[in-house]
């Protein structure tokens, strides 16, 4: 093989938003060197500007910050900030890329981020991070958690070169004469996530943005809501800094508007506007909130439930109306909005503040970047991708995702990032591990026998905690507790600079134990444990007090009680940590093989990808054949042939010798844990045991079987799928007079299944367009509740309207009726515009049926010990940032098992699962937590009760010499012990304990409490 064709075990990720960050982390964890190229001073992207995220209302910075820290400290990731791609040569597997590094004028390796420079800088310019609602200095750090944490100088007109900063900087980090640099890098693949810029609202001048001071964009409003924002989280309007009484949101500003070349739906605005209204209500319950919208597009997992909550609990008012005009009252700066009420009457209403829900434009750098990388864009300037290969750009070896390939929310961006990694990792599997470095830690300090010296760090979490709990008081209180030698509060304890602060405090105050009082250990404990480990402390000399999720967020109206509770929780944590002892980690061998449950499209894609990444896969399908639900889908909205794709995929899967397929097989038992699972399957009434290191759940879902609308009683009432089959197999003839009525939301968005099935609107439009293609004159009616054609699907909605498909909206409590008049089918629906009942005679009534969870989910979830959500779909570890992981390590979920979705979305998730599983399977050995049971042999009587009780057979009783006397004692096998503590709770002599949760530790916690 000549030098140019040699594959390179490194990947360049372009764009440091949440997508680029996730891609970098997944690749770096799978044995690749990563260059993360970001044009700004810091990674973080738009997510760093957001206040909260829907539908969980998680604080955006709080969930992003640990990822920033992880990226910065990862041994395999090189951050290239202030960098842009200049040119690319070569081909998939081996690219040579020139990168231009713009001068930062501050040496990142020397800057401590102390801020002395900004203090003395005399120049103030509008702060783009604060959306120009506040000022920053010419030397600045974009936001406190910026990564890297070093400052930079804005010389694009801001800096006056007075050199004050240079004098102030004690670290001598400032280099006013720093030059631009060219860097050449050799990588095997490129992953492109340039993200988005918000729509420039001046293009819709009728809303008065830029003219009226109280008209703001939604991203400006995010900053207004944010505790670290320009108004410290107080909801005020710009003209007089007073709290508004009435705020209105206008949807679709820069979306669904072909006149300004943005015909697509931006997919996220309905939800973020709802979130903003809801958070506004939390800040100030007296503010009245109104959202003016066209269609409420709550198509995602848990979205409709969120909207219902906003309506019922928070009294957010939703008005379905397009706004054509906004006027300002020159005296009060209030805004007058003219809109059409549901009853058709035109009314004018006054608001004190107006938020424009601006759409997502593709990043302004995307066009230039695409030219340099030589990849194709679509007519809107987004990356052109195929529905059946949603992560591949037009150039082999270059993968794309996030908003670059179409408007997406955070979890979809994260999913596509992981998915793109799987493709890069498959391409470069032969050179995995060739360019990576080992992480080195300082030696662990021996603290045994030392008197505890505890440091307590109390997080304000912006105002998430600090807005309710009196944090300074808690800090002062912490200082009075036994063994506490240091305590402080932080704006965000999870930020990169606070990690450094913690490490410094450990060194300066000789701390040997640390308590962080902040959010939940379920998400943040690993971050802090890593920090103290880097400071030379064992990871287990640490404890968290959950004063946010289980305190400030749930006692928002009781600041006094919440402060008392925070004190109690800190006291309990301090008491516990003072007894903690270092725990070792155990290295285990692992089985580098995957198990995929479900042989539908998602399952097959993930199995194939894992195999291409170099791992053997067991693919278990309960049916006799592979294919799943995709067997009934013939074409996509764009017209791609699904059946052709499916048969090719089946061929690839069946001919890949790394994939072992078991059809007509059921899962009987799943034992073990990450890296070492043992699954028993039943195959032709015989049992077979499979050993594997990771599990991907791709068990699919079902189509709702309707009982309504004469389905099953009259054969002219069919499902949307049946119609598609009739069209595709050419079994349907339509004449000029034919009348086809489609009814949406059958079995969706109802009491029984309160969620939206996501695909039905687009599927109906897809088939309506196919009917129109057969005969332009055919009458097609779509009876809908909201048309949820998000993203580029909106184009097809417009096309359907242009071609004369009639869309008639109905209300949930006034559903259409289907009747038989003699032998004629008739549909009766109330036309909400004409305010009268329409009678449509139908040759065919087509029901757009819901996607419902598989009846096997319950059993499978119990076998795997992973949760289902209220609707019966599998519940991921975190709705935003861990969209395909389960909380249990080594188990992942994709496709319809997760929630209803399109084929391209299933493919993205399936790839993402393969990438996530690869982060485990690619390891040589697995380090597991030392939370296992331990026997005190002096006390143990060898009674065998623990052995009986242990669900994992991890305990044995052996004959042993203890203090010179031979006796029977229990012995725990740490490789088998899962740390449940059942043995410890049952032991009669109190001689077996769960490390990290010992009797003494918990009894101390109780004692500290009461």
């Amino acid at each position: 093989m000549d030098e140019n064709n040699k594959k390179i075990g490194a990947v360049m990720v372009v764009g440091g938003g949440i997508g680029g960050i996730q891609a970098s982390l997944d690749l770096a964890e799978s044995g690749f060197k990563v260059y993360l190229v970001e044009k700004n001073l810091s990674i973080g992207g738009v997510m760093a500007q957001l206040d909260k995220t829907f539908p969980t209302n998680d604080c955006s910075m709080c969930i992003l910050s640990p990822k920033l820290v992880e990226c910065a400290r990862h041994r395999n990731i090189e951050l290239l900030t202030r960098c842009e791609v200049e040119s690319i040569e070569g081909s998939a597997g081996n690219f040579k890329i020139k990168v231009k590094k713009h001068p930062r004028f501050v040496d990142v390796s020397k800057c401590t981020g102390c801020g002395d420079c900004a203090e003395v800088c005399p120049v103030e310019v509008p702060d783009e991070y604060e959306e120009n609602l506040a000022n920053r200095k010419a030397i600045y750090r974009p936001f406190p958690q910026a990564t890297p944490g070093a400052f930079g100088i804005d010389k694009s007109g801001a800096c006056c070169e007075c050199m004050q900063c240079e004098k102030a900087c004690k670290a001598e980090a400032i280099l006013h004469n720093m030059l631009e640099q060219d860097i050449e890098l050799n990588v095997g693949s490129v992953i492109v996530f340039p993200g988005f810029d918000e729509f420039e609202p001046k293009l819709r001048e009728e809303y008065g943005y830029g003219l009226f001071s109280n008209v703001v964009t939604s991203i400006e409003f995010e900053r207004i809501l944010s505790a670290s924002g320009p108004f410290q989280g107080h909801v005020v309007r710009c003209s007089d800094k007073k709290t508004p009484k009435k705020i209105a949101w206008i949807q679709c500003v820069g979306s669904r508007d072909s006149k300004i070349e943005r015909g697509y739906c931006s997919s996220v605005c309905c939800m973020y506007a709802t979130k903003q209204a809801l958070i506004t209500k939390e800040h100030s319950p007296d503010i009245r909130t109104t959202i003016f919208y066209i269609d409420m597009r709550a198509y995602g997992k848990e979205f409709d439930r969120y909207i219902e909550r906003a309506k019922l609990e928070y009294k957010v008012r939703y008005i379905r109306s397009r706004i054509s005009e906004v006027k300002e009252d020159a005296k009060t700066h209030n805004l007058k909005i003219k809109y059409e009420r549901e009853d058709g009457e035109l009314v004018t209403e006054e608001f004190d503040m107006l938020v424009l829900s601006v759409g997502l434009d593709v990043s302004r750098s995307a066009k230039d970047l695409a030219e340099k990388l030589n990849i194709n864009l679509n007519s809107y300037g987004f990356a052109r991708v195929d529905s059946l290969e949603p992560l591949k750009t037009s150039r082999p070896g270059i993968f794309a995702g996030g908003v670059f390939s179409g408007p997406k929310d955070i979890p979809e961006t994260v999913t596509s990032a992981s998915g793109a990694c799987a493709l890069a990792s498959a391409l470069l599997s032969s050179v995995r591990g060739t360019l990576v470095a080992e992480k080195k830690y300082p030696a662990e300090k021996d603290v045994s026998g030392d008197i505890p010296r505890i440091g307590v760090f109390v997080c304000q979490c912006g105002i998430n905690i600090g807005g309710v709990v009196n944090v300074p008081l808690v800090v002062e209180y912490a200082k009075t507790l036994p063994f506490v030698v240091y305590a402080e509060d932080n704006l965000y304890t999870c930020s990169q600079d606070t990690q450094d602060t913690i490490k410094e405090a450990i060194a300066q105050h000789s701390l040997n134990r640390v308590v962080v009082a902040s959010c939940t250990p379920r998400t943040h404990e690993p971050l802090f444990q890593e920090t103290i480990r880097e400071a030379g402390l064992n990871r287990h000399l640490f404890e968290m007090a959950n004063i946010r999720d289980q305190n400030s967020w749930v006692h928002m109206k009781q600041p006094r009680e919440a402060t008392e509770k925070a004190k109690d929780l800190v006291r309990m944590a301090v008491a516990k940590v003072s007894l903690k002892e270092p725990l070792g980690r155990i290295s285990l061998k692992l089985t580098s093989r995957g198990l995929v449950i479900g042989g539908g499209l998602a399952g097959m894609v993930s199995a194939l990808r894992l195999a291409e990444e170099g791992y053997e896969v067991y693919l278990v399908e309960k049916e006799d054949t592979l294919g799943g639900q995709a067997k009934d889908i013939y074409y996509t909205l764009k017209g791609e042939d699904v059946q052709k794709f499916l048969s090719k995929l089946i061929e690839k899967v069946t001919s890949n010798n790394k994939i072992h397929i078991f059809t007509a097989a059921t899962i009987e038992k799943i034992e073990g844990f990450v890296g070492n699972f043992k699954t028993t399957i039943k195959l032709n009434s015989s049992l077979k045991e499979l050993e594997h290191g990771a599990v991907i759940v791709a068990s699919g879902a079902n189509e709702y079987q309707p009982t309504e609308y004469l389905f099953g009683k009259d054969k002219r009432v069919v499902t949307q799928r049946k119609l598609e089959e009739l069209i595709a197999t050419k079994k349907l003839n339509v004449s000029n007079q034919s009348s086809i009525v489609m009814i949406q939301c059958i079995g969706s968005r109802c009491d029984e299944n309160p969620y939206c099935s996501r695909v039905c609107c687009s599927e109906a439009i897809k088939n309506a367009l196919a009917l129109k293609k057969m005969n332009k004159q055919v009458n097609v009616y779509i009876l809908y509740r909201d048309v949820r054609t998000y993203g580029f699907k909106e184009d097809w909605y417009q096309k359907a309207r242009e071609q004369g498909v009639l869309f008639i909206r109905y209300e949930e409590d006034d559903k259409p009726e289907v009747k038989l008049n003699k032998d004629k089918l008739e549909v009766l629906v109330k036309d909400l515009i004409l305010e009268e009942k329409l009678l449509i005679s139908a040759d065919l009534v087509v029901l757009s049926t819901a996607t419902v969870p598989s009846e096997d989910n319950k059993e499978l979830s119990q076998l795997l010990k992973v949760p289902l959500n209220e609707d019966g779909f599998f519940m991921e570890a975190h709705a935003k940032l861990r969209p395909v992981d389960f909380a249990t390590d080594g188990i992942f979920v994709c496709g319809l098992a997760h929630s209803p979705k399109f084929i391209e979305e299933s493919i993205c998730q399936a790839n993402a699962c393969a990438a996530r599983a690869c982060t485990i399977l690619s390891r040589d050995e697995l380090e597991v937590e030392g939370i296992v049971a331990e026997v005190n042999e002096l006390k143990c009587k060898g009674c065998r009760l623990c052995k009986e009780i242990c669900p994992y057979g991890a305990i044995d009783v052996e004959l042993k010499k203890v203090l010179g006397k031979e006796k029977e004692v229990a012995r725990v096998n740490p490789a088998l012990c899962k740390g449940c503590g059942a043995c410890s709770a049952s032991c009669r002599s109190g001689s077996i304990d769960l490390k990290g949760f010992s009797d003494s530790e918990i009894l101390t916690q109780i004692g500290a409490l009461v």
């Binding site: 749930v554 109690d568 059942a982 918990i1002 109780i1006 409490l1009």
Partner: protein, 140 residues
């Protein structure tokens, strides 16, 4: 008894109830600030001694939160917890403690509302039956 604020010690399993309690937080469901949660790996690891200690130290109530039957992350820990508490309750009476003060509830990771409701319900119940007699015993 109107101003009596009960104190509840909660032993919440890491995988279900603790996660459910976090979800109540992310969903901003409001409930009385009476509970002091202690995270344990499994409800099956809750030693009777923990419950007794909590009650004797003066807690007005103890909540043991675990996964739903069949859902235990550790196969059967929740059943063990249930059995253990059933036995313990018979002893509590002999100690002059009210067995209504110890609640076992199955709350999954997706049941934030159930968690919030449980705390509200338990608080109301404890207010009704009054402070733990152990509080009095110890206030010398």
């Amino acid at each position: 008894m109107a101003d009596f604020e009960p104190k509840i010690v909660g032993f919440l399993c890491n995988w279900c109830t603790y996660a459910g309690a976090d979800l109540a937080g992310t969903s901003r469901m409001q409930y009385p600030s009476t509970i002091r949660p202690i995270r344990v790996m499994c409800s099956g690891s809750v030693d009777s001694a923990y419950i007794l200690r909590a009650l004797l130290e003066g807690a007005d109530g103890v909540l043991i939160g675990g996964c739903h039957p069949g859902d235990c992350h550790y196969v059967s820990g929740n059943y063990k917890a249930r059995r253990r508490v059933t036995v313990l309750k018979t002893i509590l009476k002999t100690l002059g403690l009210d067995d209504e003060r110890v609640w076992v509830r199955w709350i999954s990771a997706s049941e934030g509302k159930r968690y919030a409701d449980t705390i509200s319900e338990m608080t109301a119940h404890l207010k009704k039956i009054g402070p733990s007699p152990a509080r009095k015993l110890w206030s010398l």
